[in-house]
Point group: C2
């Protein structure tokens, strides 16, 4: 169940509006596969069919509603950020040697690493060309490019840290870059392009950053606590490849090895840290001006912490 589907229960005018806008984002993403080369189209269609949670587009559209929402601009931005996210997923799977991604065979497993390199690059390029950039403030488009840069930097750092004892601080640094960056950009740019004040946009950006960290910690916890069927990617894959995520880092603090007992303790401590970051985000959300958008953001934040998939 997607985050958004859970929200639909609220059935406010805003949630209906967001659903309508998300449909436009999906249509726009569908157009991306319209290259004239059939072979390429097949690969890209396969990628676009991931049918993910669309969290980042939801955040762009939602934060746009803190200001004077403009559909055309927000939909393009949301599609751009989702494409960027999809591109990083494809390249991540190469590095992780992942066989599965969201219950489907990953691009690199199905078409080979080589194809995955270019398919990722193609979507990265598309994430930029999909924007009519003269509609946006140059500094906001720059934020997207800076986002890609930070993500890559963090991925490189993560890769180089394999099989090394990591500190919690280093883990958070990597997670900030590779996951929180795009959540922060989505909420910041969505608001800023709707004419929100710089102060409000920045607050929303920080909320995105904190929710992003909590989201990634929960993702890493789920890697240990669920079966492949639930998560749709190889479980404990990270550990095998030498990526020591937060549960392992905590486990190795109190034991020389990762055993069921130390891992369970590591998982509990990780959950606590995820809650801490969500709480930080909640405190910021509370201070936002009262609105339907604020209520919905609170709802999503609550749901993000509870997810089991």
């Amino acid at each position: 169940m997607s985050v958004f589907e859970s929200i639909k229960g609220m059935e406010t005018p805003l949630s209906a509006e967001i659903e309508k806008e998300l449909k436009l984002v999906k249509d726009m993403l569908g157009n991306v596969t319209r290259t004239k080369y059939a072979g390429i189209r097949a690969v890209i269609e396969d990628v676009m069919d991931l049918n993910g949670k669309m969290l980042r587009p939801i955040f762009v559209i939602l934060s746009g509603h803190f200001g004077a929402y403009r559909s055309e601009k927000a939909v393009q931005l949301a599609a751009s950020i989702e494409l960027l996210h999809l591109a990083t997923l494809i390249h991540d799977d190469i590095v992780d040697d992942s066989k599965m991604r969201r219950h489907k065979e990953s691009v690199q497993s199905k078409y080979g690493k080589d194809m995955a390199v270019y398919a990722g690059d193609y979507l990265l390029a598309k994430s930029l060309t999909i924007l009519d950039s003269d509609k946006y403030e140059a500094k906001h488009v720059d934020r997207l490019a800076e986002g890609i840069e930070r993500i890559c930097e963090s991925e490189l750092l993560q890769y180089q840290s394999r099989f090394n004892t990591m500190t919690v601080k280093n883990y958070l640094r990597i997670v900030s870059g590779k996951t929180a960056t795009l959540f922060a950009v989505a909420l910041y740019v969505g608001a800023a392009e709707s004419g929100c004040s710089e102060q409000l946009s920045k607050q929303l950006g920080r909320i995105g950053h904190e929710l992003g960290i909590a989201f990634q910690i929960i993702d890493d916890v789920l890697d240990f606590s669920t079966t492949q069927k639930n998560v749709g990617k190889s479980t404990q894959n990270d550990l095998k490849k030498g990526y020591y995520t937060l549960p392992v880092i905590y486990a190795l603090r109190e034991s020389d090895d990762v055993n069921p007992k130390s891992l369970e303790s590591g998982i509990q401590k990780s959950r606590k840290l995820a809650i801490k970051y969500t709480d930080k985000a909640f405190k910021r959300i509370e201070k936002l001006p009262d609105s339907e958008a604020k209520d919905l953001l609170q709802h999503i934040a609550t749901h993000m912490l509870k997810r089991q998939y």
Copy 2:
């Protein structure tokens, strides 16, 4: 010997000026390695040390001199396009499984495919963040992004055409995308951002496109006609990997297999086609307004056809 070193023999005020500007581009590229993470810095420094021909930056600066040249803008653009080129080289080496790149071990061979994926992404992102995009017309920044898209599309098409009999038409389509695009963008944007008319900028773009095709054909010919020592990348690598380039396509037209005789004939025919494209470019160059920049462009075009490395 670099293309530019050969031009230095001319010793005109313009060639001295371009040399000075190229130094600024190299300084700017050097700054790209200034990430705070030492491990990443090492990889990127290694990549930046490629010391290539810098043809694309030369074209940006040179075409800028057809209009009102502005150093700061042109140097940023030149660095951006060179970074984009370096990023594609790194990703190409993954797909080609190349051990060598310009007499040095390739990133993927030295650091592994995974590192090469992210290092390429990082430089791609840097190619965008290095631009103060509010200095440029949005449509010109878009041309860069469209360039990346076209390059990726062609690389995907090339990869999918492996081990297939290719037509000359398909070969030219791939070469247009993967090589000529960036030459065309360099000459077009360099001119357009110096206030040249749209007509002049487009003419320069077309010249870049034709020179780019000639350049790639010669590259593919050199893959067969030189030793590893001269080219700095594994010779005949393309053929082994199932990439049938122009000499092979021509060879297979007149013989059932690629043998010394049919290959020699294929090489000769390929050279002729390279000359045809260079001639097209020459005819366009002749029609450009007389200037020092025009003379230098003629000189570079002549040299590009003659190169033996």
